[in-house]
């Protein structure tokens, strides 16, 4: 436990000091941290899932508070919570299935056998209620959750069922933790490989001689473009530099070394050039549940220009960037102001900045936001590691990854289910 605490503190410090760049790195590190938290948590005899959830929530709350803008942290915390719930549910189901089986076969054994199924049925019902799952026709009709409806945490599928038949309770608790850690590993794997999965779809979206515009730099975009290039597509890329960080220069350099025809322009020339562009492809910081995008600053302008010229605006986002929250005033509340020194030379303007000291408020303000909010109506398409989606579909996609109970992690420390 002290081990995890120091790990957590380290990570908190990094988050607070904004030492971790990019949502992918943040997501990966968060998942790794939570994995070690889970593995170090001592699980009580009963209600193991509840204990794990509490432990993860406690840490998650701190992490989210450390950098509320980095929504990827919250996403991962929620994903892990969701995983715990799912694993617990599937174990329970498996246990019930086993017990039912044994109940059927041992029908004549008497009362002691009967008590168990009833008990776990109650647990099951509670679990079913608290789990957000895609409503399959079957669950709706029969009101019986079945393990087949449990999405995506496939590792727990066949083998756990086989094992849990004979499982006693202690092995079950170990089993839960083990399964959760397995699933978190898978999540980490997903985060690491999401670029590749997105990039695989590149050839389906880029045609020969296409002119693509992007702003700033995103690893996802880089890989996406390069994947298309490797598949022998020939196209041109126009890169807007993305002031004030000028990551576009970096992207341009990468693309050039990989042999793509690249044109570097200033951000102000976006409107001038967009009329000759076939498609805008950009990365995102976070995708909100309404299909809006928190993206590097400047992209709203690009999206507006693209809309004006009816150029498709495509956002690439790994699934760890999908956030189950709906934005409210995101331009301000989900933004971060960076140092003015990126825009103005303090040396040159120090006299101006002091100028208003007599009146109490300085005359000169410098605004240097990090993010832009692109409303869903400006986005033509999301490409995630699970395929392409409409902005209006994002809420549904997000429902696959998160439990409704977890949407608010910090405010209401709920008792475990």
């Amino acid at each position: 436990m002290p081990d995890t605490q120091s790990l957590v503190n380290d990570f908190l410090n990094k988050l607070r000091k904004r030492k971790i760049e990019g949502s992918q790195a943040t997501a990966k590190q968060t998942a790794e941290l939570l994995r070690s938290v889970i593995s170090q948590t001592r699980v009580p005899y009963t209600n193991q899932a509840g204990a794990l959830i509490d432990a993860v929530k406690a840490v998650g709350e701190q992490l989210i508070a450390a950098n509320p803008i980095e929504l990827a942290v919250g996403n991962i915390v929620r994903r892990v919570l969701h995983i715990i719930r799912e694993e617990d549910l599937s174990l329970t189901n498996a246990a019930i299935a086993g017990l039912n089986l044994s109940g059927v076969s041992d029908d004549e054994d008497g009362a002691e056998g009967d008590e168990q199924p009833v008990l776990s049925a109650a647990v099951l019902a509670a679990a079913a209620r608290s789990t957000l799952r895609p409503p399959s026709l079957q669950t709706l009709l029969e009101d019986v959750p079945d393990s087949a409806a449990v999405p995506h945490t496939s590792s727990s599928g066949g083998d756990s069922e086989g094992k849990s038949k004979s499982a006693d309770k202690s092995s079950r608790s170990r089993k839960l933790k083990h399964d959760v850690i397995e699933a978190v590993n898978e999540l980490i794997q997903d985060i690491v490989t999401c670029h590749d999965q997105i990039a695989e779809q590149a050839v389906e979206h880029i045609h020969h001689n296409e002119v693509i515009l992007t702003l700033g730099s995103s690893r996802t975009v880089l890989e996406f473009l390069c994947a298309a290039k490797e598949k022998k597509r020939s196209f041109r890329v126009i890169v807007a530099e993305g002031a004030p960080r000028y990551q576009g220069h970096l992207l341009a350099k990468e693309l050039v070394t990989r042999g793509l025809q690249t044109t570097l322009i200033t951000d102000s020339a976006v409107f001038a050039m967009i009329s000759r562009v076939n498609m805008v492809i950009v990365g995102a910081h976070v995708v909100m549940a309404n299909g809006g995008v928190i993206a590097p600053v400047g992209l709203n302008m690009v999206a507006l220009a693209a809309k004006r010229h009816a150029v498709p605006f495509v956002v690439l986002a790994g699934s760890h960037k999908l956030c189950p929250l709906y934005p409210h005033n995101p331009e301000v509340l989900l933004n971060e102001l960076r140092s003015p020194s990126e825009l103005l030379d303090f040396g040159e303007f120090s006299d101006c900045m002091d100028f208003g000291s007599g009146t109490g408020s300085p005359l000169l303000h410098v605004v240097n936001p990090t993010f832009d909010y692109v409303p869903p109506k400006l986005v033509s398409l999301f490409i995630t590691d699970t395929g392409g989606h409409n902005p209006s579909y994002m809420y549904r996609l997000i429902a696959d990854y998160y439990s409704a109970d977890d949407l608010v992690v910090q405010r209401r420390p709920t008792p475990g289910n």
Partner: protein, 670 residues
């Protein structure tokens, strides 16, 4: 309007056209043709004569033509003519000549004779015209060139003074001149469509338009040469030979290059230094197809003339091949070293050119004023060389200066307008005026232009714009517009309480200069970069923008990025006010920012000023896969613009073409 008309007429046989043309001609052309009048005195008065001149159809048409012409004449095309019109009223018969010839030209199609002019003037010989018929075409090309047709008109006036009798006698030379000259003038009046149609009705010979064009350029040159010859030494007798041959050959087979070359060489031999300039700057006066830098041959030619040795940038962006892009920073030392060698260049002009080149002077108004003042300087120290006329020689001089400045940095539209003004002013100088008087007049006129069109205009704009600023406003501006700056400062002086958001962008970061000046005057400012414009737009109540020019479709042509800002404002429902002096308006139209633009130094893109840690591109600028594009302007669609504040008041962008028209008119009679 004209194009429409002509097209209507075209549906009719040529006769109709005749009527149409004639009516136009007599209005515009008579004046410069006085010398011909000698040869053709018998012709009736042009004003009333269309009827009498020739066939019946003509008569029918002409009255309408007469009625129309005063209305339909585009202002820009007149200006040079006004004078003449006056002068010519007196000699109205003269006019008839040109008028008449024109009619002939238009009507006749048969090839039989090249010398329409010669006998030509043989009005009634229907045969004349290969050459004649081809004129319109040439004019077409030239047309573009010649709105003010300063040189030509000037030429004619000169010749009138000097040598009427000589010319009239020289049937050959004179007539050729006449005709060549005429097309140049007539052209501006005709629209392209009309010409095209007319052409369509003409023989297959002319199918090759390019060749024909070249041919006409040639003719024009010849004409100019002839004039100069005639003027210099009245021995025009020698001339007819070559001219005629050139004429015939080219007329009959416009496609044969070798003949053209002959003609050219002849022409070249006779050419005086200034004439080429004349021709060149005629072109500058009208919205004409601009120099396209993807046209190899023309680029080569331009290079040979160039004073500034520019090196072509490598890795040019495919889309922008038609625009010049040069390496920056290399020319300056070279030019500086040439300072004492460049004989023909006036030091004042030279200085301004270097300032353009190095970027010390930028901004439409500043550049325009600097240029005009340099011209004032040159005029002050100007003296007419012997055997030359002030009007012609000075125009040529100015033209050479202009092309030098253009090499230093492509002219802005406002400068183009100012040059147009200056040239037309020169052209309109009364012949009787002494040199010192003329110089004084010109200097005063330039002063007046600067004062009225720029300084006073700005004052008026400030007055209007200030009424749109209320207490509590947050005003956003982009880059550094001098007009907007004045508005803000004035509003501040009036004690209005508002805040200013200065949005800036690389690579010029002009906003920082504006920011410094505003803060220095005590205005509360917020500074940000263009990417953050949609972040800041929430709090903004008005957007004030400057413009390099406003085109007649309402497009605002301005510092690159303006369109983005206007678009964001539009998206957030914030009104966009564009402050622009009316002298910057232009009748050209543009839909995108690509067909015409200015390319800045590409290296400014790869190096981020003041951020040495951003040097990602240091090693790769030589890669052929990487292109750096530094656009200077962009075109803001008019629907993003709520209002245009100009010296004529506050108007919607749709009213810009109206102002352009009216302004031109006023311009004429300055």
């Amino acid at each position: 309007m004209e194009p429409r008309r002509t097209s209507r007429t075209v549906s009719d046989p040529k006769v109709r056209q005749v009527g149409f043309f004639t009516s136009q001609h007599h209005h515009h052309h008579h004046h410069h043709l006085p010398e011909r009048s000698f040869s053709e005195p018998p012709l009736p008065d042009p004003f009333h004569t269309s009827t009498s001149t020739s066939s019946a159809p003509v008569t029918d048409v002409s009255p309408s033509g007469n009625l129309l012409s005063p209305v339909m004449i585009l202002p820009s095309r007149h200006h040079s003519d006004n004078l003449h019109r006056l002068s010519h009223r007196a000699t109205s018969p003269t006019a008839s000549f040109s008028y008449f010839a024109r009619a002939v030209v238009v009507r006749e199609n048969d090839d039989s004779l090249l010398s329409p002019g010669r006998r030509g003037i043989a009005v009634k010989s229907p045969s004349s015209v290969v050459a004649a018929s081809s004129f319109p075409k040439g004019g077409f090309d030239l047309t573009a060139v010649k709105a003010s047709s300063v040189p030509a008109s000037k030429l004619t006036t000169v010749s009138v003074v000097n040598l009427p009798p000589g010319i009239s006698e020289k049937a050959g030379g004179a007539s050729v001149e006449v005709q060549n000259d005429r097309p140049a003038k007539s052209k501006p009046l005709k629209q392209k469509t009309s010409k095209a149609e007319r052409r369509a009705t003409q023989e297959a010979q002319r199918a090759a338009k390019a060749a024909a064009k070249a041919f006409f350029n040639l003719l024009l040159k010849l004409a100019v040469d002839l004039y100069s010859l005639a003027e210099g030494s009245k021995t025009s007798a020698a001339v007819p030979g070559p001219v005629n041959s050139a004429n015939t050959k080219t007329a009959k087979s416009p496609k044969s290059p070798s003949q053209k070359n002959d003609a050219v060489s002849v022409a070249a031999a006779e050419k005086k230094a200034g004439d080429r300039q004349l021709e060149k700057d005629r072109k500058k006066d009208v919205p004409h197809p601009r120099m396209q830098y993807d046209d190899q041959s023309r680029v080569e030619k331009a290079k040979r003339r160039a004073v500034v040795k520019q090196t072509e940038a490598r890795n040019r962006v495919e889309l922008f091949r038609h625009l010049p892009q040069y390496e920056h920073g290399t020319q300056l030392p070279d030019l500086e070293s040439k300072f004492f060698q460049l004989d023909p260049m006036h030091p004042a002009v030279y200085k301004v050119g270097l300032q353009y080149l190095s970027g010390d002077i930028c901004g439409g108004n500043a550049r325009c004023i600097a240029m005009l003042q340099a011209f004032q300087e040159t005029i002050r120290s100007y003296s007419t060389p012997p055997e030359k006329s002030l009007v012609r020689d000075l125009t040529a001089k100015i033209s050479s200066y202009v092309s030098f400045l253009n090499e230093c940095r492509p002219l802005s539209i406002s400068m183009g307008n100012a040059i147009r003004f200056l040239k037309s002013t020169i052209a309109k100088l009364p012949l009787s005026m002494s040199e010192s008087e003329a110089k004084a007049t010109l200097q005063a006129d330039i002063d007046r232009f600067i004062n009225e069109k720029i300084i006073l205009a700005d004052n008026v704009i400030v007055k209007h714009a200030v009424t749109k600023i209320r207490d509590g406003d947050v005003l956003l501006t982009y880059g550094a517009s001098s007009a907007v700056e004045m508005v803000l400062l004035h509003a501040h002086e009036l004690g209005k309480q508002f805040r200013v958001v200065v949005v800036d962008s690389r690579p010029k970061l002009e906003g920082q200069l504006l920011l410094r000046r505003l803060v220095g005057r005590g205005l509360g400012c917020t500074y940000t970069h263009i990417n953050a414009v949609s972040y800041i737009m929430h709090e903004v109540t008005r957007v004030f923008l400057g413009a390099s020019s406003i085109l007649s479709n309402g497009t605002v042509y301005s510092r690159v990025g303006t369109a983005c800002v206007a678009m964001a404002a539009h998206a957030f429902g914030v009104p966009v006010l564009v402050c622009c002096e009316a002298y910057k308006f232009h009748e050209r139209v543009q839909l995108d920012s690509i067909c015409f633009n200015e390319l800045g130094d590409p290296d400014a893109i790869s190096k981020v000023h003041g951020r040495e840690e951003i040097n990602y591109l240091d090693g790769s600028t030589n890669s052929e896969n990487l292109q750096l594009l530094n656009l200077t302007y962009d075109a803001t669609p008019s629907d993003y613009v709520s209002i245009v504040i100009t010296d004529y008041g506050m108007v919607p962008p749709t009213s810009v073409p109206v102002i352009v028209r009216e302004y031109r008119k006023e311009h004429l009679w300055i």
